[in-house]
Symmetry: C2
């Protein structure tokens, strides 16, 4: 006679535990591209606690807001921000329309194709390029230009469209949060109108849930009286650093319960998010995977960078404030959906 | 033998028609506070056409955006905009906190309680009052102040909270649109942060779907390092007239398919909305009911007003552009939910 038969009540208790636990295990893992570890556990624990009505950490559905930085958090931002690539690649078309710019700096340098010289352009030059390529046209024209570019442009390293260089683990987190009643937002230092062109298709996030650096528009009429909006070179919101919580207040009007970032540009957003009452989740992606993506910090002795800087001070702050650092190398089983053996997106 | 028995096929056809039509009649009228007429018909026809997949006017769910002006469109705005009443009634508290303002204009006049003198205050004075009562405090403090005021303030004519002076027919339109997959937005010349305090409770519209006149905020830290946002006296968006389509682009990023207004401040929003492709609905509330609410235009010979002006030019434009004018007197069976015989809200 075995142990089980000798203690029928113990057996029943074991069966009850099994039956209670089995449905959980039977569920599909909502985060299959994540390795088991503190980062994945933090996400699952947050979602479970905030959606369980009996939990003291329960968050009512209408307050479930999650904010995601984009560059370096949900897609590749090296060696250059995608939108900056767009602006540089738009310069020939701009000069074609305005030939008088051909011999004017910084357009002359950009047209030369001299990468070293282009890399040395300063902020005032970059501002001129952004103004010339992102403003001055009707909003519909801008959308069409970005859409056309995204269809043909390729990342130099992977030779794939930029919109395929999104992090599969982060797409899974967005989906998982939405399946649990969270409204997901992009909160980016990038251009709001730029990201809105592809946010629905790439992230499942509608344009109205994209908060980004935003310029003004000007309402006017065509000759036949049709109203239209022109993008103006007038900055309304610089959605970076302190501008992120300010942008969240302007565009959402509620404090998020979860925020995801990867650099000092996201620090204030995480501070603001996690300073709220009740359950809050703050997470930072650390790019420590030179093999599969890039490695930069300078936190944890990683190479320094000017694109998406993750300082040691930010790392220490994360530890102090209970934010979770996501190690790209250790926490992500896969990085891109197109990697071999990846489940379909 | 009756007609029916003699023509069994005709009877069958009649039965089929009855069965097909019956469920429609059996449904509860989604707009019970509207009289049958061109306004109600325009709303129902728009919703039916844009949600019927077989209709050439079908609008995919993600593009279903409807914008509602607030003052004079969804609630009473006479004799004074509610937010202006708020600002004037906040002055004593502001002066209590800053006694040096006691003998400074325009605060002195407001404190005097002299209605005629207050009514004569000019725009520069009003701007000083708005700045003193709407800015300079943390956003949470402002929300708490507005909430407290709404709980005690009363409209002089009805002696009821301002939040009860919402138009029941418009609440029904919002609900009807939402039941048909539309995302409803408030797009108001009033303060975005002010309206967000009560929009969910009063209109069922969450704060993130309120677009209004917006000032900047400033991110900072308390002495113990807690981050917070202060409301700044810096105008980011004047969400009136041309500012409405500009605000819609900034905050929503899509052109609405339906827009509701009541004054020249809404003209550009309706132009922008109805200039889009496919089915579009533009509607304007005409206050022609002095008995149950107020009568003002000066369109159609109604008394002139400075609060929510509906000019004859706007009226003519509505006719020309196919916008529907809602006659409060003729189209609305009931105006407020609290009226005798009203169905529950």
């Amino acid at each position: 006679m075995n142990q089980r038969a000798r203690h029928p009540r113990a057996w029943l208790a074991a069966a009850a535990v099994f039956l209670a636990v089995a449905p959980l295990h039977a569920q599909t893992d909502p985060l299959p591209s994540w390795n088991d570890g503190p980062a994945k556990q933090a996400i699952v624990a947050f979602v479970q606690a905030t959606t369980d009505k009996s939990s003291p950490k329960f968050v009512p559905p209408e307050a479930r807001i999650a904010a995601f930085d984009q560059d370096g958090t949900t897609w590749v931002s090296h060696p250059m921000y995608t939108q900056v690539v767009y602006c540089l690649e738009r310069v020939p078309a701009v000069v074609k329309a305005k030939p008088e710019l051909k011999n004017v700096e910084p357009f002359k340098t950009v047209l030369s194709g001299n990468r070293e010289a282009i890399a040395k352009l300063g902020m005032p030059d970059l501002v001129k390029i952004l103004a010339a390529t992102l403003t001055g046209m009707p909003v519909e024209q801008f959308t069409a230009e970005v859409k056309a570019w995204l269809g043909t442009a390729r990342h130099p390293r992977w030779d794939r469209p930029f919109t395929e260089l999104v992090y599969q683990p982060m797409l899974e987190v967005m989906k998982y949060l939405r399946a649990n009643g969270y409204k997901t937002y992009i909160v980016t230092g990038g251009g709001q109108d730029f990201v809105r062109v592809y946010s629905e298709q790439v992230y499942g996030i509608p344009p109205e849930q994209v908060v980004g650096t935003a310029g003004g528009t000007k309402f006017g009429y065509t000759k036949d009286g049709t109203p239209f909006l022109t993008k103006e070179p007038k900055l309304l919101l610089n959605d970076d650093r302190a501008g992120k919580p300010e942008g969240i207040h302007l565009m959402i009007g509620r404090r998020p319960h979860a925020a995801f970032g990867n650099s000092t540009g996201d620090q204030q957003m995480l501070e603001y998010t996690t300073a709220g009452d009740g359950a809050r989740l703050g997470m930072l992606v650390l790019h420590d995977d030179a093999t599969r993506e890039y490695a930069y910090g300078p936190a944890q002795g990683l190479p320094d960078t000017k694109v998406g800087t993750f300082t040691q001070a930010l790392y220490d702050d994360a530890t102090k404030k209970g934010w979770t650092v996501i190690s790209m190398k250790n926490d992500w089983k896969r990085i891109f959906a197109f990697e071999t053996g990846n489940p379909a997106r």
